[in-house]
């Protein structure tokens, strides 16, 4: 092993700070080993945690999944007393609220991202991005509180009668029935507000990453500003934007508190968005502490397991798309 010598002993420049002790090169090699090993252990905690979650939740879900098989996903029976459990209403409720949320949030998020990346005056860009980002920092339970006392009453007395009677959408099964307020629609709307900042932030980043040359080429060909966006910028950023939307979907699928507070908590499949329903997350949040039988607990764990797998797939796809976009830009 080569011996290194540190600052020359007779150096005229006085040393700043504590001198590095030279005698124990061996000691520092050992210390390096320990350091590297501890970093490795910390790094391994991440896969270990993932594995633990998977195994623990999966094992707890096993009795219910084993007993009901695939019918757990398709059955809409939910009777803890008789020991009948089916997740269909919760799964449908989760998908429905997420679709409503994305339908409402995507145009707004994309519009605001385009504005911020292309048209915003520079002095407005920072504060406006900051405000949109702050929306993501508001805790779920605060959204829920606001939704219960402000949004739902407006829905009940204003929006729902308007959609059903004034616009005559009540003729379709989707907007019919009494306007309770607490409903799948209410959950979808509060989710829309909650996922908007995620979609907006990712879209903004990928739009900003589109090379200048792409824009200049479109403008040089005589495109108007909008044609430049629609023809040259958005197609370039398409994958990344789509990834952002999927990321928003991942958030919407797993969101718990705000949804639990306004979805109405009823095990029933209904075509009407005005009807109360259940989402997978809200079902767990609502019934877990009241579950008395082992099978009930296991059924709720099974719902958690299904939710875990769905969000893993959705997030995996989203990450892959966003990173592919990153690779394209760098290439």
């Amino acid at each position: 092993m080569p011996t290194m010598s540190f600052a020359p002993a007779g150096s005229a420049v006085p040393r700043q700070g504590p001198p590095v002790e030279s005698p124990s090169i061996e000691g520092s090699v050992t210390a390096d080993r320990i350091y590297r090993l501890s970093l490795l252990v910390f790094a391994l905690c991440v896969p270990l945690l993932m594995l633990l979650i998977f195994v623990e939740v999966g094992a707890a879900a096993w009795p219910a999944l084993h007993l009901f098989g695939l019918s757990f996903l398709t059955s809409s029976a939910w009777d803890p007393v008789k020991g009948q459990f089916g997740a269909a209403p919760a799964i449908v409720g989760t998908l429905l609220t997420s679709v409503i949320a994305l339908t409402l949030a995507t145009p707004l998020a994309l519009g605001s991202a385009i504005f911020l990346s292309e048209f915003s005056p520079p002095w407005l860009r920072q504060p406006l991005s900051f405000l949109v980002d702050l929306l993501a920092a508001v805790p779920s339970v605060v959204y829920g509180l606001w939704a219960i006392f402000v949004m739902v009453p407006i829905l009940r007395t204003g929006v729902m009668p308007f959609l059903r009677d004034t616009l005559h959408l009540g003729a379709t099964p989707f907007f019919s029935g009494p306007a309770y307020g607490n409903s799948v629609l209410a959950a979808g709307m509060i989710l829309a507000i909650m996922v908007l900042p995620y979609i907006a932030a990712v879209s903004r980043e990928v739009l900003m990453a589109v090379p200048r040359a792409q824009r200049e080429a479109a403008l040089a060909l005589g495109a108007t500003r909008w044609e430049m966006i629609a023809g040259a910028v958005i197609p370039y950023a398409r994958t990344g934007i789509f990834g952002g939307v999927i990321l928003g979907l991942g958030r919407a699928l797993g969101e718990t508190m705000a949804v639990t507070m306004v979805i109405g908590n009823r095990h029933e499949l209904s075509a009407s968005l005005f009807a109360p329903g259940y989402s997978m997350a809200s079902l767990i949040a609502n019934e877990f502490s009241e579950a008395t039988t082992d099978l009930h607990v296991s059924a709720l764990m099974a719902i958690g397991f299904v939710l875990l797998i769905i969000t893993l797939i959705v997030n995996g796809v989203a990450r892959w798309m966003v990173s592919r976009m990153g690779a394209e830009v760098r290439a």
């Binding site: 910390f42 790094a43 896969p47 920092a137 709720l300």
Partner: protein, 294 residues
């Protein structure tokens, strides 16, 4: 000849006017979208201030929850509980998060680093309720009782992906020459890593940590079946403990107006806590990198 050119260009000019019109309309729409995107934040903050400030008093910070009908109720125990849970979460989440982030940055391109990065991203999207039932199964069920420790561990685990990814990003921005300089001076690797690299990246890492703390401070779902909530003063980490988000939730879904007012006050306190941490996070980055960074 010139007249032919003129007549030929007339429809083209109309086309241009239409295209410009479309462009202006669409740009205006994006403007409106940007304005609408900010509306929910303004409206929600407005309601919190209006409803929360009215119910907020000194009692709120110094008194315990009381039954309906009794005056001078507060959430002193929940505020303390939340701070305690954040502390516990940091003990779990920060070493692992920063350690894993350092590992990823110093071993870029290796299979394990890529795997850890991918899984951290996936964990970041894990529904909080799933973390809640996992923590119950892992830390509550075997011991037979709810505990503050289980709650702190659950939200601490949620900090890991955020902290590790920011640490990695920030450590990557440290110039290689700085490492080489330290190594050339005979610094062992571990000291280079901790005293030079980590210290240089500290501003960004602190930001990441604050963002993670702001996020878990408001988490409710992972605490429902772990920390559970507690109406009494408790510092015992192996017993259930109150938390601000839990208290807001149970008061919000209660039928009593008094409790609703308390829930608004609690939400105001929580959001101020979260926003102060978020803004602090921005400030730390900006002061380090001379503005513009986020």
């Amino acid at each position: 000849m010139s007249t032919a050119a003129m007549s030929g260009s007339a429809p083209r000019v109309r086309g241009l006017a239409r295209r410009r019109g479309v462009s202006i309309v669409m740009i205006t729409l994006t403007c409106i979208a940007a304005a609408l995107a900010v509306v929910p934040l303004v409206v929600i903050l407005g309601y919190l201030l209006k409803q929360g400030a009215g119910a907020l008093s000194l009692d709120f910070f110094t008194h315990m929850p009381v039954p309906v009908g009794e005056p001078h109720g507060g959430m002193a125990n929940a505020i303390l509980g939340t701070l305690l849970l954040i502390g516990l979460a940091s003990v779990v989440g920060l070493p692992v998060g920063i350690g894993a982030g350092l590992y990823m940055a110093e071993n870029r391109g290796t299979g394990l680093a890529n795997l850890v990065r991918f899984l951290a991203d996936v964990l970041n999207g894990l529904p909080s309720i799933v973390m809640g039932i996992f923590a119950w199964q892992f830390l509550v069920r075997p011991f037979g009782h709810f505990s503050a420790l289980a709650g702190g561990a659950a939200i601490g685990a949620m900090m890991i992906p955020l902290v590790s990814r920011t640490t990695e990003e920030m450590v990557r921005t440290v110039p290689q020459s700085l490492r080489e300089a330290a190594l050339a001076l005979g610094y062992p690797r571990w000291r280079t890593s901790l005293q030079i690299v980590l210290r240089t990246a500290l501003g960004g890492i602190v930001t990441g940590v604050l963002v993670a703390v702001a996020r878990v401070a408001g988490e409710t779902a992972p605490l429902l079946f772990t920390a559970l909530g507690n109406n009494f003063w408790s510092l015992n980490l192996s017993k259930p403990i109150a938390a601000l988000p839990l208290q807001i939730f149970s008061y919000a879904i209660s039928p009593y107006d008094e409790w609703h007012a308390q829930a608004w006050a609690g939400a105001l306190v929580l959001i101020v806590l979260v926003l102060v941490i978020s803004i602090l996070a921005r400030y730390v980055t900006r002061s380090r990198h001379g503005g513009g960074g986020d």
